[in-house]
Each structure stands twice: as C-alpha cells, then as structure tokens.
Amino acid sequence: MDPQTLIARRVALELRSGYLVNLGIGIPTLVANYVPAGLNVFFQSENGLIGTGPIPEQGMAHPLLTDAGGRPISALPGASTFDSAMSFGLIRGGHVDMTVLGGLQVDADGHLANWMIPGKMVPGMGGAMDLVAGAKRVIVAMQHAAKGKSKIVRKCNLPLTSSRPVDLVVTDLAVIGFPGGRITLLETAPGVRVAEVLAVTEADLMIPTEVPEMKI
C-alpha cells in the first residue's frame, strides 16, 4: 500500500455515523474514498457545500459545483449549499465533528503549523485556522518526515495555525496522540517497528508498554 493510501485508510477508521467532516486539500481528500461501509457521513466543502460526492462522471461536471480547490465535484442526494458566513459558522461554531488537515509540522504540545514557510512559501491559511479553532476533533494526516527531516518536532519553528492542540496525527509510520497532554505513540504502521519510528521522530514520544499495529 502506498503511504498516502495507508494514511487515508487509517484516518477513515476515525469516522463515525452522522459525523459532519471537513477534509483539507491533499492526503485528507483521499479519506472520502475509504468511508467504512454502512457509515452515513456528511462531508463539507468549506466553499459552501455539505454532501460532497465523488468526481462527476464524464460530461456531468457543472462549473458552479466545485471543491475548495476549484475542481469539479458532485453532490449527493440531501446535499445543501450555503454562503461562506454559514460555512464558517458551522466550522467555528463546533458543528464540524472532525476535520482532517495536512501539516508541515506538529510539535510535542500538539501544535500544528501548516500555512506558511516564511520567505519561501506563503499560500495563506485559507480555512485552516478556523478549522483547528472550531472543529470538535482535529486530525493531521501527513508524511512522517519530509526530505529526511522529522515533521513531528519538539517545538514548531514554523508559524502556528492555532494555539489549540490537535487530537491525532496519522502518518505513513505511526498514529500519534496526546493522552493527558503528552505526545504518545499509539500505533505503528504495518511492518514498522517502534524503534524505526523513534529513529525518524524529533519529538520525544511516550511509548506505552504495548503499541499495537494499525488495523487497516
């Protein structure tokens, strides 16, 4: 399984029936492909839609029905559309049960940095700051390391997305959480040993006596 698929499938196991879920761009988007059978989940696109469906069939796309990246999507029966004030009222008001976002860094305090690299890349925060501030549960889906450098760091040196800590981090190597406020290795990827995770992680992870393997 390629790393992105692994991450997306593991995150999808966090979905619960009736959840309103917002997926960020990149790996998070893939989560929608792995909703466990029988679960009724609402996906929100922050440009103003609840009930996003898959990419439309050939010839069925409409230019006024797009995702937050401007790409054509479809809408499921029971979808609803609304303006940006309502969209972020839903987000900031705690009506989004779970959001999945990409990350540049997550630190030992659970702080996420994902919107700029000063002097190099300034895409802007888009909806990310509101999502982290407002969603009931925040999950970061990202590669464990980039160019050999750990993205799980002691303290973020990139500008933070929020002072509110995230709830869970899912990478191609591990699932990391913050029980009792302490950064903790919760699961390892299939075939990956704890020592391998530690070797590529800058932050000092708590290691419970038993660390199960991800069940995909």
Binding site: S45, E46, N47, G48, L49, H62, P63, L64, L65, T66, A68, G69, G70, A75, T81, F82, D83, S84, A85, S87, F88, I91, R92, M121, V122, P123, G124, M125, G126, G127, A128, M129, D130, A133, G134, P159, L160, T161, S162, S163, R164
Partner: protein, 215 residues
C-alpha cells in the same frame, strides 16, 4: 436598482478604489466585470476577496494585468503571480483566516463594529489586535470591513434586483452585496419579477445598485 451597460458600470470605478469581488477560486466571480476592468485598465485597486484564484481566471486576471496594489484574502497559494508580485512588493498582501474574513465583511454590511473570534489566537494573526477574555476564553477583536464597490455574480436576477446564487458559486457574494457603498451585479440569467420565489431570494432587491444588462 438601475440597469447599466458593462462599460458604464466599470466606468463608475475610479483608479485606487476598494473593490470586493465575489467568488471562490474563480467560481461565482463576475468575470465580465473583471474583463472590463482590465480593458479599461483601472489601476491601484484595493482588492478584497477570498483568494487569488489562478492566472487567467477570476481575480487572477487583475494580477495578470497588474491592477492590484493591495490585497486582502485568505489564500493565494494557487496563483504564483500573486506570490511574485507580493515578493516584489508590487502588491501588499494582508492574509486573513477565511472565517474571519467573511465575518469582518458581514460585520461591515450589518452595521457591526466587529466580532470576537477565537481564530488566530496564539498565531501571527493576533499581532496588533485587541484581545478580549470572556468566561476564561480568549478572543481576537476583528473589525468590520467595507469597500467602495462590490462586484457580485448571481445565478438569477429579476427586474427589481432580487438575486439567487447556485451551488458553490454563492460563497462570498451575498455577504459582500451588503458591505459596499455601490453594488454592481452580473447574472447568469435576468428573469421577470415573480420567477424567484420570496423564500429563495438570497440578496433582496434594495441591496443592488446596478444590474449589468445582458449581451
């Protein structure tokens, strides 16, 4: 509401004006008004919109023609021209969280001085802003935004100026239609009064100053 030609509508906008433009990644953007802004070469614009779109599309056209001197937006990551013009200090960019941006515009349109939001507390966004604590939670005081002009794209407009929007093309349009001194609208379809049911009107007619005629 007054019907107006595309040319006359854009002629109302002086160089240096502040302009809100509806749309999200170019979806729901009044493209004809932007094309005409480029044709009439209106410069030094202060632009307020969700994002930088992409080159050749939506507000991206304004950056292609280097018409913008100040941009307030939440995301510019998909338009390298905006990034270049920002790095070259041709455009001054104020990045605002998307939910804060839309609330600031809504406040401007609804006569509120501002709102208290938790978004941005403990980040670069809090710099220079008043913080207010309520029941142990910290909020940033974010102030109202208004502009000289709002350029709005509707799905249906009736002869009085009542507007509806379609699907994800709604986004910032109805909010901006309340927050500018002069509101100029293009529509996919101009329809007779009564085609739009009262419950389906998203922007009531009295908010619209000018409706750009078809053709």
């Amino acid at each position: 509401m007054k019907p107006i030609s595309l040319e006359e509508a854009v002629a109302l906008i002086p160089n240096g004006a502040s302009v809100m433009v509806g749309g999200f990644m170019g979806v729901g953007t009044p493209e004809r008004l932007l094309d005409e802004l480029v044709r009439q070469h209106k410069t030094e614009l202060t632009l307020i919109c969700n994002d930088g779109a992409v080159p050749g599309r939506g507000v991206g056209k304004l950056f292609d023609a280097a018409l913008v001197s100040t941009l307030t937006a939440s995301h510019i990551g998909l338009n390298p021209k905006v990034q270049q013009q920002m790095m070259a200090k041709q455009v001054s960019v104020d990045l605002v969280p998307q939910g804060t941006l839309v609330e600031r515009i809504r406040a401007g349109g609804c006569g509120l001085g501002g709102v208290l939001t938790p978004t941005g507390v403990g980040t670069m966004v809090e710099e220079g802003k008043q913080q207010i604590k309520l029941n142990g939670k910290t909020y940033l005081l974010e102030t109202a935004l208004r502009s000289d002009f709002a350029l709005i794209h509707a799905f249906l407009a009736d002869y009085l100026g009542n507007l509806t929007y379609a699907l994800t093309a709604r986004n910032f349009n109805p909010v901006m239609a309340m927050a500018a001194d002069t509101v100029i609208v293009t529509a996919e379809h101009v329809v007779p009064v009564g085609v739009i049911a009262p419950d389906h009107v998203a922007t009531p007619a009295p908010l619209v100053d000018y409706l750009v005629a078809n053709g």
